[in-house]
Amino acid sequence: MKPPRFQYCAPRILDEALTLLDQNREDTKVLAGGQSLVPLLNMRLAGPAYLVDINRISELNYIESEDGYLAVGAIVRQRQVERSALVQEKHPLLVELVKHIGHMQIRGRGTIVGSIAHADPAAELPALLTCLNGEVLAQSSHGERVIKAEEFFTGYLSTALEPGEMLTEARFPWIAPKAGWAFMEFARRSGDYALVGVAAVLTPTINDRCLSAQIAYLGIAGSPVRGHAIEDVLVGTTLDEPTLDAAAELARTLVSDDMSDVHATVEYRGVLTTELTKRVLRAAWERRGH
């Protein structure tokens, strides 16, 4: 198997990469970890004329604690985040979620930001970014802009990125100290793309009711789905079983009608969604601080 012919360049400076991206705006792809792009090239499902390899741009290799969020640069590998003492301590949900991505050999090369830019509906990181109200930083040779997760993912493998733009940073908001969190997914084999996955963060009030809830899904539509209606049901409750049942029933209605494929029918995804919703909410609530 051979990728189709392309022109390649591996700049060492971000500005150079942005200039290169600007040269052939419509037919250029950014190559980061390549764990999604290279299979597409190998199978000739994609055939960009130009590849800008950003792996040697060391200024994009950072994990930083910022006011309000964790910032991850565009060439940070998923394994780096998994091993980072900073992330382990300050954003354990991100570490927990990243462990579900592919296999260790994939995470050793695959990047956090690349997975977000690829926007696979079954990928974990887009769902997490959506759950947390995260943001991404997009840059081009004409400037930069910050895009909110819910505006970034526009459909199946589609994002709000314009030709000539690339993602340079992902921003994962911190989770409140007393909030409980959980991520679960169901995949038929370890490392496969999950059929359905759920991330949730629940913050308790002083008298131990749900102050705020954030929940988002992967695998139930063309892009990550934020469960706003479910959040409304949860707020003010003690997450008793009737509340969980109501939340789970609502979750089933979020599964998009066109999500039947060889892996699972809409009905089956619905069953998984209801069950995972309950389990994730229980686990997150269990983890809350008092």
Binding site: N42, G102, G191
Partner: protein
């Protein structure tokens, strides 16, 4: 001496690369679309790195890139420029003594047809480097990135356990 200004990079279809593979330095001009797996097999003749699915699922082509286990079918040779690659050919000692991991696979019958074995050995090497004393659950979890269609994995897990034990012993003797 006047500092040489770096040239602005340009798009190209071929690149000169220098890669250290199993301790030997290779300098070569390669087409940019050449996969690292094909570079190792076709250009260098290191056919121990096997190629199965060619889209990152089967794990046969796993090699170490600067010590990290990666799929060599999911990166281009040009991306390994300036890096250190270890393949199955680099595992045995100079007088062909098997590496403790290889030895353990032989003793525990951790292979049948052997097609997946090079990738598994490289993955196990990376796994044990990071976690010298893995539980069975951890072994199974880390092996999930390598598909074997013969063995049923039982003997592979036993081989990894034995290899881990011997490598720990070896480490203690060194210290």
């Amino acid at each position: 001496m006047q500092e040489q200004e770096e040239e602005t990079p340009v798009f190209t279809e071929e690149c000169d690369i220098a890669v250290i593979v199993n301790g030997h330095r290779y300098e070569q001009r390669v087409p940019v679309r050449l996969l690292l797996s094909d570079f190792l097999r076709h250009d260098l003749g290191h056919t121990g790195t096997h190629v199965g699915c060619e889209h990152g699922v089967c794990g046969c082509c796993t090699v170490l890139l600067n010590g990290e286990a990666v799929r060599s079918c999911l990166m281009f040779a040009v991306q390994a420029d300036g890096m250190v690659v270890t393949t199955i050919e680099g595992m045995a000692g100079t007088n062909s003594d098997l590496h403790p991991i290889q030895q353990a696979f032989q003793e525990k019958h951790g292979l049948q047809c052997g097609f997946c074995t090079p990738g598994i050995i490289m993955s196990v090497h990376a796994m044990l480097h990071e976690n010298p004393n893995p539980s069975d659950e951890e072994i199974r979890h880390e092996l999930s990135g390598n598909i074997c269609r013969c063995t049923g994995y039982q003997n592979i897990v036993e081989a990894v356990r034995l290899a881990a034990e011997r490598l720990r012993q070896q480490q203690m003797e060194v210290q």
